[in-house]
Amino acid sequence: MAGDELKLLGAWASPWVSRVQIALHLKGLNYEYVEEDLDNKSDLLLESNPVHKKVPVLIHDGKPICESLVIVQYIDEAFASTGPSLLPVDPYERAIARFWAAFIDDKLLVPWKQAFSGKTEEEKDQGRKQLLAAVETLEGGLMECSKGKPLFGGDSVGYLDVVLGGLLSWLHGTEALCGVELFDAGRTPLLSAWAERFGALDAAKAVLPDVGKLVEFAKMRRAQLAAAEAAAAAAAAKKN
């Protein structure tokens, strides 16, 4: 249909991009995908997201939308009559979904990063503890949202499934990258079952990157950044 051109600027390893791709897939929307080299960003990316210069950026009929949670909600609203609804209909349930989405981005990911790339073992350990505590809290959130059904959205995939699901390859890589297993069937049975179920969805299989490839890439990136920081510190020390 004319006037519904969709272009997604992304990067294969980015879980934020995966969120958007999963949403587009679930809605059955066609789009052009542009893989960005994040070390050499395209003019289009820099023009479309001048504030953050980051992926994902969804460009709809030439108009850019940035920030993964904003984009997913936009897709749900702009294409309300196409495919399933991602957010629930009821305002209270929508608020609960948005609350847990904010929780995932604020309380889960911050300690995850610390556990992954903390400067000292102590820092990493603190990150691990906070991460596990956050996951246990999220288990309660899943219980609240799913009401005994398999997904956050109940019987069907919803907004919150997309928000957490986009991260799934990274979450599966947590043991290799952060030294702690995220979804333990004993500690968080609902989330463990959810991870299996979400991972089996067509959209997940089509979009999510291979965990092994991702872990290798993340380790390389972490080493690169650590080396760059060490070099900068050495240069600064020489000056003084």
Binding site: V51, H60, K63, I65, C66, E67, L69, V70, I71, Q73, Y74, E77, A78, P91, Y92, R94, A95, I96, R98, F99, A102, F103, K107, T137, G140, G141
Partner: protein, 222 residues
Amino acid sequence: MAEKGVKVFGMWASPMAIRVEWALRLKGVDYEYIDEDLANKSDALLRYNPVTKKVPVLVHDGKPIAESTVIVEYVDEAWKDGYPIMPADPYERAQARFWARFAEDKCNAALYPVFTTTGDTQSEVVREAQRCLKTLETALEGKKFFGGDAVGYLDLVVGWYAHWLPVVEEASGATVVTDEELPLLKAWFDRFLAIDVVRATLPDRDRLLALNKARREQLLAA
């Protein structure tokens, strides 16, 4: 018997709590306001928001919602026939949400150091904060309010700057929002503060200043 009505758990100096009050008042919704002592949180607050234990929390007919920006969207949807808070167009909504996130994540983080530093360090962080606010200001170009001709979601999310920033500036001995650096934002401050529901709810300026001065002294002494 089922709990009926609207309650807001807040704190008199909290910019996050006031957003919720503005949203409810724009919709003409009556509510009971519970002022929390954050050093001694009530059992009710902890029961209604066990996850983050923070204010604000909105309780609507016994059902709690936390996170101020989530609450504001909820208020707009639950009382959808009242004053329109979110823009109608999906693209405009995306823009409003984008800028709200930018203000909350980047601008607030850039402003905080102004409060906790002195001297040359402070001058540097002031410039950084101004750069951030200048970016936010672009969302105001050609408009009376971030929401257009009338206040909307983004105005409610950043509106606290209009009352709190001058107080923070005075407590910190710094100036961030000036006519030269941020003319659009400064003009918007005046328009926003003139809004009825805003004027009816603002915390006492002297009390807010005293609180901020004391807090800054504490932080600098540490």
